[in-house]
């Protein structure tokens, strides 16, 4: 497979990368791990004239702690997230989600920044990003700004990232005490993308009552969304109570613009949203204790 020709650029600073983007405009695409873009280029579904590879830009990789926040460089790979000690200790759902993206070889190169900027509607991390309230740090010609996850996913493969910006960092709040989180998905048997995936972050008061619920749903619609109905249904409820989670999970498809395709009808995918909302909340609540 031969993609269409392009010019390759390998800047060594974010500033240089931004400069190139400013100069090349729409003709340029950023290259992170390449695992979304390159397959599209091979099929010539994408034919950028310029690729700006971020791999030689220092400071975009790795995980560090900043108070109660985990700071993840945008070029950090799924495998690094899967195995990183800080992430596993402070927000294990991010590791768990990363560990079921694609396959082992894909996870070695694919990056969190690339994934969140590409915003594939069936990608896994967007659900977890919503549930965990990620913040995306974007750098542009005028400096940095932070975008909250609820403003990030704007539509089919479109995000709040502006054309002259680079997603440089993802900020993940560490899970508070008494909080449990889980991401569960129903994978496509071939691609392993999520037909439906639900991430749940549940905080309890220690006696089984839900003090806060944060739920993200991916796969079923054109973009990942927050399941506000489920969150409202859980808040203040004693989760040990018979049917409490199941009742809340009934709103799992609310606000999802469910799309029918070969993997399922609207009816079925909406049903899966409810099933996986229930399962994810149950798993998260169990971990919350």
């Amino acid at each position: 497979m031969y993609p269409a020709s392009f010019e390759y650029h390998s800047p060594t600073t974010v500033k240089d990368a931004l400069g190139l983007m400013g100069k090349l405009g729409d003709d340029a695409k950023l290259l992170a791990g390449g695992h979304s873009l390159i397959p599209m280029m091979k099929l010539r579904l994408a034919q950028p004239k310029h690729l700006i590879d971020l791999r030689n830009v220092p400071g975009l990789k790795g995980v560090k702690e900043d108070g109660g926040t985990i700071v993840i460089g945008a070029m950090t790979t799924w495998y690094e997230l899967e195995t990183n000690a800080i992430v596993k200790a402070k927000c294990p759902i991010v590791s768990e989600t990363a560990s079921i993206v694609g396959d082992p070889a894909v996870r070695n190169l694919g990056t969190i920044g690339g994934g969140l900027a590409h915003a594939d509607p069936a990608a896994d991390m967007p659900a977890t990003a919503i549930a965990c309230n990620f913040e995306m740090v974007c750098e542009g010609p005028k400096g940095r700004r932070t975008v909250k996850v609820d403003e990030w996913f704007q539509g089919l493969m479109s995000t709040a990232l502006k054309e002259d910006e680079i997603l440089v960092e993802v900020r993940v709040p560490a899970l508070a005490k008494g909080t449990g989180a889980a991401y569960l998905k129903f994978p496509h048997p071939a691609s392993r993308f999520a037909i439906v995936g639900v991430a749940a972050v549940i905080s309890t008061d220690g006696k089984g009552t839900c003090s806060k619920a944060s739920i993200g749903v991916t796969g079923a619609g054109t973009k990942a969304v927050r399941a506000k109905g489920v969150e409202a249904g859980l808040s203040g409820k004693n989760l040990a109570g018979a049917g409490a989670i199941e009742a809340a999970a009934q709103k799992g498809a609310e606000g999802v613009d469910v799309q029918a395709d070969l993997q399922g009808s609207v009816e079925y995918k909406a049903h899966l949203c409810r099933v996986f909302a229930k399962r994810a909340v149950e798993a998260a609540a169990k971990r919350a204790g």
Binding site: M1, Y2, P3, A4, S5, F6, E7, Y8, S10, L31, G34, H35, I38, P39, M41, K42, L43, L51, D53, R55, Y79, G102, D103, P104, A105, V106, N108, L109, A190, S191, R192
Partner: protein
Amino acid sequence: MKLPVKMTINGQSVSHEVEPRFLLVHYIRETVGLTGTHVGCDTSQCGACTITLNGQAVKSCTLFTVQADGANIMTIEGLAKDGELHPIQQGFWEKHGLQCGFCTPGMIMLAVQMLERYPKPSEEVIRHQLEGNLCRCTGYHNIVKAIEWAADKMAAAK
């Protein structure tokens, strides 16, 4: 415009000028002439092109050659040392882990990483780790056995 690249493949230093759009797998196969790495799909699903890049298993079809500039690469041809098969290669032979042989180099290279990360993998771990490598001949049964065999052999050697 062609760009210079330099990398180490199976311990040998190689350098060429390549078109940026040239995928690493094509560089390995067509330019360097190591044809053991195969192309089985165009969507990064099959894993026949799996190699290790700086010690990690990657799909060489989903990487431009220019991205591998400076890398240390190993392909299936570099796995046996001084004519002695790697235990994973032996395992595939002993346990009949291959039939047509086309997916085999990718399977073996992925297994190299797998056993580094999981020296004593359960059957479940092996099957999960193989999710990016397709085989149409074996039904995976003997591939799992081959990797189990290699894991035992490598553990015994330690």
